[in-house]
């Protein structure tokens, strides 16, 4: 089928640029040809035509630079972004509204890039956590078998009648150490077996009101006062209530342990942005104590499993690492501020929208 003249023209003039240029050429011809006809002067018409075409060329190039080029580059960049390529170039920023469009476009792509990186980081972290959990469970399980041997044979040796006191005592040391290994393995298995989250709509203040009475007596017995400053109107969160209560109790009990008689613990709640650069909307609960504080060298080990400064037999050091795990699975964070001799503040931040 033969294309009509109009269709042929449409195909040639298929970009804004060529259409602009073509329109201006047509206009200057329209402007230039009448003088030729009216005046009859070829030279005069020629110069008018020339001047017109120069003007048209100037206008067209300015428009191309300010509108057509940036727009076509933005169109190209949008295509790139939709294909997943986030390092785009929109060219030099022009000075009119198109320049605003370019600036906002770049900002938008920047936000997308950062969110993508955050999501990747979180995925990597949770994958690492999951595989660490599985590794821990596997190792713990493997340890139990040879440990059975050590415990059984040590006890059988202890039953002998021909032992010197020294040998008996040494064997008892081995038996006790083996019992400790058994406890550590159990703790590891508990830690690696994450319990399912059962999220329900919850008010943070009401969880605090349930948890604080559970430890208030112990605090009072020690001579430590406990205050609660709830915020007035907190948005409802979606939390696993019992697991979160466990987190609060863990931090509260640590605060009691760290604080001397006469000191106090203050629990407060409020709205807050997330402590990272994304500044997401959220809610915090802060537990502040006037206790002994945390030395700098311990600060980055606080949440490590099995890290504890307590005496042997007084806790396994799993509390904070499990608590952090629970908070993180709710999409939240725990931050710690502390000064030796002054006290510590543990702040739990939770997002208003649950992210799993």
């Amino acid at each position: 089928m033969r294309d009509s003249f109009l269709q042929k023209c449409s195909r040639i003039l298929n970009t804004t640029r060529s259409r602009l240029v073509a329109s201006f050429v047509v206009i200057t011809l329209l402007v230039g040809i009448p003088p030729l006809i009216i005046e009859g002067s070829f030279v005069a018409s020629f110069f008018v035509l020339l001047a017109g075409m120069v003007l048209a060329a100037l206008v067209a190039s300015v428009l191309a630079g300010r509108i057509v080029n940036p727009l076509s580059r933005l169109i190209h960049a949008s295509q790139e972004v939709s294909e997943g390529h986030l390092s785009i170039d929109v060219g030099p920023i022009v000075s009119c509204e198109i320049g605003l469009l370019q600036t906002h476009f770049l900002r938008m792509v920047d936000v997308i890039r950062r969110q993508l990186m955050d999501a990747e980081d979180r995925l990597l972290h949770s994958e690492t956590q999951a595989s660490i959990g599985r590794l821990a469970a596997g190792v713990a399980h493997e340890i139990n078998n040879p440990l059975t041997g050590v415990l059984a044979y040590t006890h059988m040796l202890l039953r002998r009648k021909d032992l010197s006191d020294e040998v008996r005592s040494d064997l008892e040391t081995i038996a006790q150490a083996t019992e400790r290994i058994k406890k550590i393995v159990r703790g590891l298995l508990d830690f690696s077996r994450e319990t399912k989250l059962n999220p329900q709509p919850t008010d943070l203040n009401s969880i605090a009101l349930l948890s604080i009475p559970l430890m208030r007596n112990q605090a009072l017995v020690k001579g430590v006062d406990v205050k609660f400053n709830p915020a007035r109107h907190l948005p409802m969160l979606t939390l696993d209530r019992s697991q979160f209560q466990g987190v609060l109790l863990n931090i509260l009990m640590n605060a009691v342990d760290a604080t001397e008689p006469g000191g106090w613990i203050t629990v407060s709640t409020g709205l807050s942005e997330s402590p990272d650069h994304l500044a997401r909307k959220g809610v915090v609960i802060a537990i502040e104590d006037t206790g002994c504080g945390i030395p700098t060298e311990n600060m980055d080990k606080l949440f490590e499993p099995f890290f504890t400064t307590k005496e042997i037999g007084q806790g396994t050091g799993l509390g904070l690492s499990v608590s952090l795990g629970i908070v993180q699975r709710h999409g939240g964070t725990i931050t710690v501020k502390s000064e030796v001799g002054k006290g510590s503040t543990f702040t739990v931040w939770l997002p208003v929208e649950i992210q799993s």
Binding site: A137, A140, P146, G149, L151, A152, Y153, T178, K182
Partner: protein
């Protein structure tokens, strides 16, 4: 007094050695094997007063050992040896006919208590009937498992606990949970496709794995 005979089945040599070391001192005769299959064979063909078996074994899991030994010798007590992580499954095993469970690592006292206790209860009590008596109840459960996906989920994750509301004996529950079509059809006659659905489920194998058998 005749020595009590003990059969230990565990895929770890050190566990076999430990049990033998401990029990030999108190005049028990201990035979051990690393293979679940061989342990099952011996348990059925030879004479023992108590059987100790691990749950997780490469060839035949402890649950099947429990099931088949009890069928052959209803009064022979079977004790489950388990790691801490699998105490849940051991508790389930007790609801399905195991005499007791013992957690690794164990002290000699813990082992003695379990073994002596099991032998004594077995000598006193009457063994659970190893036949399928509650036919209608069994069929009712199978029907439900053929259509109710929530119930199937409970069966997969809670085992014996999912069957608490039903009047079924330990052996009956065990047959149901281990997908023993043959044994069930022996008493009920051929099952309908809907009734077979649960038993034929390839997930039965996964269930065995997920519960740590």
């Amino acid at each position: 007094m005749k020595k009590k005979r003990v059969l230990v089945i565990d895929d770890e040599q050190i566990v076999l050695d430990s049990v033998r070391k401990v029990l030999a001192q108190e005049d028990y005769e201990v035979e051990g094997t690393l293979s679940g299959g061989r342990g099952l064979e011996w348990g059925i063909q030879k004479e023992y007063d108590v059987v100790l078996t691990d749950i997780r074994m490469p060839d035949i899991g402890g649950m099947l050992v429990l099931r088949d030994i009890k069928r052959a010798k209803p009064s022979l007590p079977v004790i489950i040896i388990t790691g801490y992580a699998n105490v849940q499954s051991a508790v389930q095993a007790m609801k399905l006919g195991a005499a007791d469970y013992i957690e690794k690592p164990f002290t000699p006292d813990q082992l003695f208590k379990a073994v002596e206790g099991a032998i004594e209860s077995a000598s006193k009590g009457s063994p659970e009937a190893q036949e399928l008596v509650h036919k209608e109840e069994m069929l009712r459960v199978l029907e439900r498992a053929g259509t109710d996906s929530d119930f199937v989920y409970k069966l997969l994750h809670r085992w014996a606990d999912a069957l608490e509301e039903y009047h079924l004996t330990g052996p009956e529950k065990l047959a149901l949970l281990t997908g023993d079509i043959e044994w069930i059809e022996k008493y009920t006659g051929p099952l309908t496709p809907k009734q077979r659905k649960w038993l034929e489920r390839p997930m039965s194998a996964e269930m065995l794995r997920s519960f740590g058998w």
